[in-house]
Symmetry: C2
Subunit: 210 residues, 2 copies
């Protein structure tokens, strides 16, 4: 049922989910597709279309009920279950993420950190269990880790990713500039900062020199 939602629509619905949570916290109870479109910077059409992909959406002639919509998205997207995650590579970026309160539990819970530097692991203070990199595969299996954040240097990225894959990881958020090779069963999202910088400056340059 609901067959398949286009990828861009999934991404927009995730943003919508965040927006709805914010609205809910500010006490708003109902919201129209046009108001949501305004906030998201897309057309009201687009908002309604995206929401329609979710299937039955008990709504009316007076906008959406914020909480109902939040629940609907959470249900169809599986946001209600806590996801078990880990961080691989505990440099500046990795340890910054490891210590984010947001990932202590709730939607996403970081349960393990990995690094190839054993000294670092032994001296680092963290509420999260830390392991040497050679235990990645085994630990991912044992702790049933589903998602991983990859923040290692480029040179080791593919090898480390392979260990995660061998352990049965389901998805990887890749902070390295390396294009990770993974079977189609493993999803990879790239959030490389240099890459984002380049896209941004390319778009600006193309606009000026078109």
């Amino acid at each position: 049922m609901a067959s398949s939602i286009p990828l861009p629509a999934v991404a927009r619905l995730c943003t919508l989910y965040q927006v709805l949570c914010d609205l809910n916290e500010s006490g708003q109870q109902r919201v129209s597709s046009s108001a949501l479109g305004e906030i998201l910077g897309v057309g009201a059409h687009n908002v309604r279309k995206d929401i329609s992909y979710l299937g039955e959406t008990a709504s009316a002639g007076g906008g959406y009920n914020v909480i109902n919509l939040i629940e609907l998205i959470a249900l169809r997207m599986g946001f209600n279950r806590e996801k078990v995650t880990c961080v691989v590579g505990l440099g500046h970026l990795g340890s910054a993420i490891l210590h984010h309160e947001r990932f202590r539990g709730g939607e996403f819970k970081i349960v393990a950190g990995f690094d190839s530097n054993i000294n670092l692991i032994e001296t680092m203070h963290s509420g999260v269990n830390l392991f040497p990199a050679y235990e990645i595969t085994e630990t991912v299996k044992k702790m049933h880790i589903e998602l991983a954040i990859l923040t290692v240097p480029s040179s080791g990225a593919q090898e480390v990713a392979q260990r995660l894959i061998d352990g049965g990881i389901e998805g990887i958020i890749n902070f390295t500039p390396v294009v990770i090779k993974a079977p189609s069963s493993v999803l990879v999202r790239n959030v490389d900062l240099t890459g984002e910088f380049r896209v941004l400056s390319a778009l600006l340059h193309l606009r000026e020199n078109n």
Copy 2:
């Protein structure tokens, strides 16, 4: 000329640029569209099509010359000029980025860091000039800062973004989950970690329950 390149193509070309730089460093001089497609995980068609958007691309019946292609992309996308950037919000994530060697200069140079916590600014050791948040607009103007990385708490994101915009910023990489309101002249790229987590787990969930 070359009118407009589709956004997805621009993004792929930026990734391609990275791949080509890696190939070049490993000493490879020529590469075919099918080999590039293999690495990038897209069809050879797609690679050739994307490259063709760049306009004249002196190539042959024997693949692309790696260095020539790097130079062509850099030229058309404006990668040869150093971009002046800053980091706003010097928490764990912001200071991790501030200290990345990659942003000391070359393609992107972080020349300033901002935070509302004045104590932090005075005690933090950094090779980069640090300023209080209320000097954002003035400093962006004065230092001709083009791009900004936004790593402040959600609550202050829009206000801080507005100061950047007032200072004449051209692009923002937004690490917060907030949807930033900006005039169409200012480009915003969102790289929110929680959002990425959600997209990943939504796609996995939808695949299992479709």
